[in-house]
């Protein structure tokens, strides 16, 4: 039976949610079938099968491997807190409008290059109605950010992003309340667009944010009586409904096995991933690509080799093999979008999805390539020695 077909018969139906697994895990909404269908289209699966068959006749052994997966993201306290670990599962963001109209965001999530600063800027700017260049983000400093968990287990966007969203909504309301007082209007008739307070109805600019800030900070004597402007707001967020926001995806690997040397050449890789609302498509795709290559490394190259005395025998980069650019394929990424309803942002995590299915896709592809030889390998990394052993050549 074709691997795609067997998956179609077994994957949970896309309309079966919410549902609970036999082990008690709750899934809000996954999209296994839609993702699989998209993948098959992206990779031109049946054309590759035909190509595989043609090449097999010429003793060129290529394989296709498919791997569908789920990944846990946005963990609540169910991950660690409930066990007494001193790592927080909630995060907080404080946003404020400063005197010259700049917007300062302090967030408890952290940045290691995935784009925590970028997602914060994009969310705050969008919710508030300002241009990104007005924003400054402070993170990674326990003295100067709200108390939070940080960035791990794919939670920065889903949890930190939602905190940023909520805090900014409050700041926006506070600004419009002041604007209403200054402009003798009603807050409901105003909006903030492009760094200006505008009429919600016709979009006409009424007062620039920097001007509003100047009045608040330097000329509060000109404000109507009884007003105490508050141009800073803090909100925290922690998932309460679902202990984890499960995401899903499916990956495919197209590769060639040299049956004389046991070497594997990765020809192409595809991922379809569903992480809910996507804040910055390029950043999400790049997280996935990076994760995929870590999975490809695990599939083919990486292994800590210990001897029987517990000595690590390959503790250097010449002997522990990491993926370098020459051995890696291009990676096409597509998405299905099933936002979580737990937050207004609807974002789930995406940082680990690439790693989750890549290794399995490669392992399945190698086994698929070796099918004519009756060889099956259930060990990673799939070294040339393992492959040649499976082929009976050594």
């Amino acid at each position: 039976m074709d691997p795609v077909e067997i998956r179609r018969r077994n994957l949970i139906a896309d309309d079966a949610y919410p549902c609970t697994s036999p082990s008690g895990l709750r899934f809000e909404r996954l999209s296994h079938h839609a993702s699989l269908a998209k993948l098959i289209g992206m990779m031109n699966y049946y054309a590759l099968r035909a190509e595989q068959a043609t090449l097999r006749v010429r003793n060129v052994h290529r394989g296709i491997g498919i791997a569908s997966f789920i990944e846990v993201t946005n963990p609540s306290a169910a991950f660690y807190g409930v066990g007494g670990a001193r790592i927080s599962s909630q995060d907080g963001v404080a946003v404020r409008l400063d005197a010259q109209g700049s917007v300062i965001c302090q967030t408890s999530i952290t940045e290691q290059g995935q784009g925590s600063e970028a997602l914060t800027v994009q969310i705050v700017a969008s919710v508030l109605g300002v241009s990104m260049d007005r924003l400054r983000v402070i993170l990674g400093d326990t003295d100067n950010t709200p108390f939070g968990g940080g960035t791990w287990a794919s939670r920065g966007a889903g949890i930190g992003g939602e905190a940023a969203l909520r805090a900014t909504k409050v700041l926006r309301k506070n600004i419009l309340d002041v604007a209403a007082a200054i402009l003798q209007s009603a807050a409901a008739e105003l909006d903030i667009v492009d760094n200006n307070v505008v009429n919600a109805g016709d979009g006409a600019p009424r007062i620039e944010l920097s001007e509003l800030a100047r009045i608040v900070y330097f000329r509060p004597d000109t404000l109507p009586p009884g007003i105490q402007p508050e141009l800073i707001a803090t909100r925290h967020f922690v998932p309460r409904e679902y202990p984890f926001a499960f995401t899903n995806g499916v990956q495919a690997s197209w590769l060639e096995v040299d049956t004389d040397t046991g070497f594997v050449k990765l020809l192409k890789h595809w991922v379809v991933e569903d992480c809910g609302t996507i804040i910055n498509p390029q950043l999400v795709d790049e997280q996935i690509r990076g994760g995929v290559v870590q999975g490809l490394g695990a599939a083919l190259f990486e292994k800590c080799i210990y001897d029987e005395r517990g000595q690590l025998t390959n503790a250097n980069m010449a002997d522990y093999l990491v993926p370098m650019s020459g051995e890696m394929p291009d990676i096409d990424v597509g998405h299905v979008v099933s936002p979580t309803l737990e937050s207004e942002l609807g974002a789930k995590g995406a940082g680990e999805a690439g790693t989750a299915g890549a290794t399995a896709a490669v392992a399945n592809a190698v086994n698929d390539a070796l099918r004519p030889f009756g060889a099956t390998i259930t060990e990673i990394p799939l070294t040339p020695r393992l492959i040649l052993s499976a082929l009976g050549r050594i």
Binding site: M317, S325, G326
Partner: protein, 161 residues
């Protein structure tokens, strides 16, 4: 304790005189003596490429060279290439295509990329991957890096008379 040796070289166009231990490698010299910390140390055994610099026009592993080997040489680091504007288009392409995530491999990648484009103005993707095979990146998976270098090569080709 070994005697210090006198060393004279040019770093990013600036003449430098120093007294160093013979065993001091070029990467440590640049980082600790010159305070040019853009040259990163990832392995100290010549595999990862994070320490890539230019010596007399060729890219080298600064961790595998002794500082004293650069006597009278011209050394260029990422700071120098950056300030001269030589790689401005590459840096812009890297930024727009999100070629860097943590940024630790980036100086070395830029050095290697510029080295490639000086030798091969129109490399294909396989040639790009081959040339960068000495620069380890754990964040990006390399695809974006290839995209940005390919795009820069094309743009340079269009700008050439």
């Amino acid at each position: 304790m070994t005697d210090l040796l006198q060393l004279s070289l040019v770093v990013n166009g600036e003449p430098v005189d120093a007294h160093v231990q013979p065993r001091l490698n070029l990467a440590d010299f640049l980082r600790e003596h010159m305070k040019l910390t853009g040259t990163h140390i990832g392995c100290e055994h010549g595999v990862c490429g994070a320490c890539t610099v230019r010596v007399n026009g060729d890219i080298v592993r600064a961790c595998l060279m002794l500082a004293v080997q650069t006597q009278n040489a011209s050394v260029e680091t990422i700071e120098g290439l950056s300030d001269s504007g030589e790689i401005a288009d590459l840096q812009l392409a890297f930024r727009d295509r999100n070629v860097l995530q943590c940024g630790f491999c980036t100086p070395g990648m830029l050095m290697a990329a510029q080295d490639l484009l000086r030798q091969s103005p129109a490399p294909d993707r396989e040639q790009i991957r081959e040339h960068l095979s000495g620069n380890y990146c754990r964040c990006t998976g390399y695809h974006a890096i290839v995209d940005a270098i390919e795009a820069t090569a094309r743009a340079r080709g269009e700008r050439r008379p």
